[in-house]
């Protein structure tokens, strides 16, 4: 029975982590946007405004839950839950440190890829259920965007999987550091199995994966509906897109899903391309930095730091670049990213055959 208890504890732990991250993420987003636009951001609530998001969530919980008269009640009520659960289930297969992974399934990458696509359905549900022009337009745009960008993202992931030869995220992670059992070569010629550090990360093991990483990162921005790909909620034209009609805790759930999604896609990028929980510091002769900084606590630290860095880049991009138009968005996806991702996959195959 203890066995099942652990499962519940892990699930609740992941949920509270997602909630905590959303709180922290909204605060960080507001501070970063303020910094970029030369403002101060929240300053009043708590020291440096640090309690602002806590106050926001308290306000949200107290608000009335309004269901529009013309809405499809069931779809409308279930949609935020579906959106959030789809993202939340993805967290189950992410490794945090050596031997620390909520669910060690050998289909990790594929499972996450599948689960994320359910979010589209939740968004369509929200859009249709609201029975509102803006909502349905936002939902359609979002769905079109997500299913289009799944293709370059998928091929970028496949090019990593071809190098790693496994779908198990924990194994992908282990391969990129000093704990690897196989021989690791930096850029295909220099054996760095004993050195580890950033030299053995996937993007340096096979340099064309840098391109794949950029493709995946751009596609992941689109999949989490972040600017410059935020036409689903384009506030200047669609009010707030698919979540126009949501109030109170339901709106909070949609937001929670967006921020969890940001963390999830960044963490997948870190695991697949940037060495997962492996340290960036290599062993240099007798200064065994990599050996000293590998372990359970270090693993959690590294993976969190790298992921937060990527999340920060997402925020930076959001407040720097203007929004894409629909045609530009589709052009970028189908005419630039998809062919490039195909090329990456091809190079991966050749690389695996001849250089590894």
């Amino acid at each position: 029975m203890n066995f099942y208890l652990t499962y519940f504890i892990v699930a609740i732990g992941l949920f509270s982590f997602a909630a905590f991250f959303a709180l922290f993420g909204v605060y960080a987003e507001r501070k970063i946007s303020a910094f970029i636009q030369d403002r101060l951001g929240p300053t009043e609530t708590g020291k440096f405004g640090s309690l602002q998001t806590l106050a926001d969530i308290l306000k949200m919980i107290q608000k009335e839950l309004i269901i529009p008269a013309a809405a499809d009640k069931w779809l409308f009520m279930l949609a935020p839950a579906v959106i959030f659960i789809a993202v939340y289930m993805g967290f189950a297969a992410l490794p945090w440190a050596p031997d620390l992974i909520p669910s060690k399934i050998n289909l990790g990458v594929y499972y996450i890829f599948a689960i994320i696509s359910i979010e589209t359905l939740g968004i369509l549900m929200a859009g249709w259920g609201s029975n509102n022009k803006y909502s349905i337009l936002g939902a359609m745009r979002s769905a079109a965007q997500i299913i289009s960008y799944e293709i370059p993202a998928g091929f970028a992931i496949i090019s990593v999987v071809m190098i790693a030869q496994t779908l198990n995220l924990q194994e992908v992670a282990t391969q990129q550091g000093i704990l690897a059992t196989e021989k690791i070569k930096f850029a295909g010629f220099w054996d760095v199995s004993a050195m580890g550090g950033f030299l053995s990360w996937n993007i340096f093991r096979a340099p064309h994966l840098i391109v794949a990483f950029v493709i995946y990162f751009i596609a992941s921005l689109a999949e989490s509906n972040r600017a410059p790909f935020d036409i689903p909620e384009a506030e200047s034209e669609l009010v707030a897109g698919f979540h126009t009609e949501f109030t109170g805790i339901r709106f909070a759930l949609v937001f929670l899903a967006e921020y969890s999604m940001m963390f999830l896609v960044s963490m997948i990028a870190v695991i697949l391309f940037l060495g997962a929980w492996n340290t960036p510091l290599p062993n240099i002769g007798s200064v065994r930095l990599a050996a000293w900084t590998t372990g359970m606590a270090w693993g959690i630290l590294w993976v969190t730091l790298k992921t937060l860095a990527l999340v920060a880049v997402q925020m930076w991009i959001r407040w720097t670049l203007p929004r894409f138009r629909v045609d530009q968005l589709m052009n970028l996806c189908w005419k630039v990213l998809t062919p490039l991702a195909f090329a990456c996959m091809l190079i991966s195959g050749v690389w695996r055959l001849w250089l590894m």
């Binding site: 499809d72 779809l75 050998n106 289909l107 599948a114 696509s117 359905l121 369509l124 299913i147």
Partner: protein, 182 residues
């Protein structure tokens, strides 16, 4: 009852109940969303049968692809067409429905026949593979097996399907193209 059995009945119940609702509901959009529940419950059943790859593929293709496509088709089609489909038809049996009823009942008979005659507990080939230790354990890695088989034993069907899909793609691109005036 073991946990696996409880889960099996639970998932089967969800699958059947949601499928019935999807078929009977007058609200088309809602039945599409309920169909999603059916597919998800089926994926759960696949996992229980140790076919996790099939389960995940089911979610990717049906939920992520086909359901979203159905929804798109639904939302892009005109309101008048949909109203005709959604018109309440109170009669359960009518001449118009005769072919459908025939087809459904015949298929049901076939399925019943299979279930009753199969005698699942002592199939010879299942026993053979258990004796030969040629069975799947919960910890087995399936992907390698699937990949190797697709590229060797089932290469011809695999390629045939890919050509079929390519034909469908080309056809769709041709149909959706604007007519060039001659």
């Amino acid at each position: 009852m073991s946990l696996v059995r409880i889960l099996f009945y639970f998932l089967s119940f969800i699958a059947i109940a949601s499928a019935l609702y999807a078929a009977a509901s007058k609200n088309l959009v809602r039945s599409i969303f309920v169909f999603f529940v059916t597919l998800f419950a089926l994926a759960g059943l696949y996992v229980l049968a140790l076919a996790d790859f099939v389960a995940v593929t089911q979610v990717v293709i049906y939920v992520g692809g086909i359901l979203v496509l159905i929804l798109f088709a639904f939302m892009l089609s005109g309101k008048e067409t949909l109203n005709v489909i959604q018109q309440p038809n109170s009669k359960l049996f009518s001449v118009k429905k005769l072919p459908a009823i025939l087809l459904a009942s015949l298929f049901f008979i076939v399925l019943l026949n299979v279930v009753l005659k199969a005698d699942v507990d002592n199939l010879s080939w299942v026993k053979d593979s258990v004796n030969l230790k040629n069975e799947i354990t919960p910890n087995a890695i399936m992907i390698d097996n699937i990949g190797v088989n697709l590229m060797t034993r089932y290469l011809l069907p695999f390629e045939a399907i890919s050509i079929l899909l390519l034909m469908a793609l080309v056809g769709a691109a041709h149909l959706s193209r604007k007519q060039v005036k001659a």
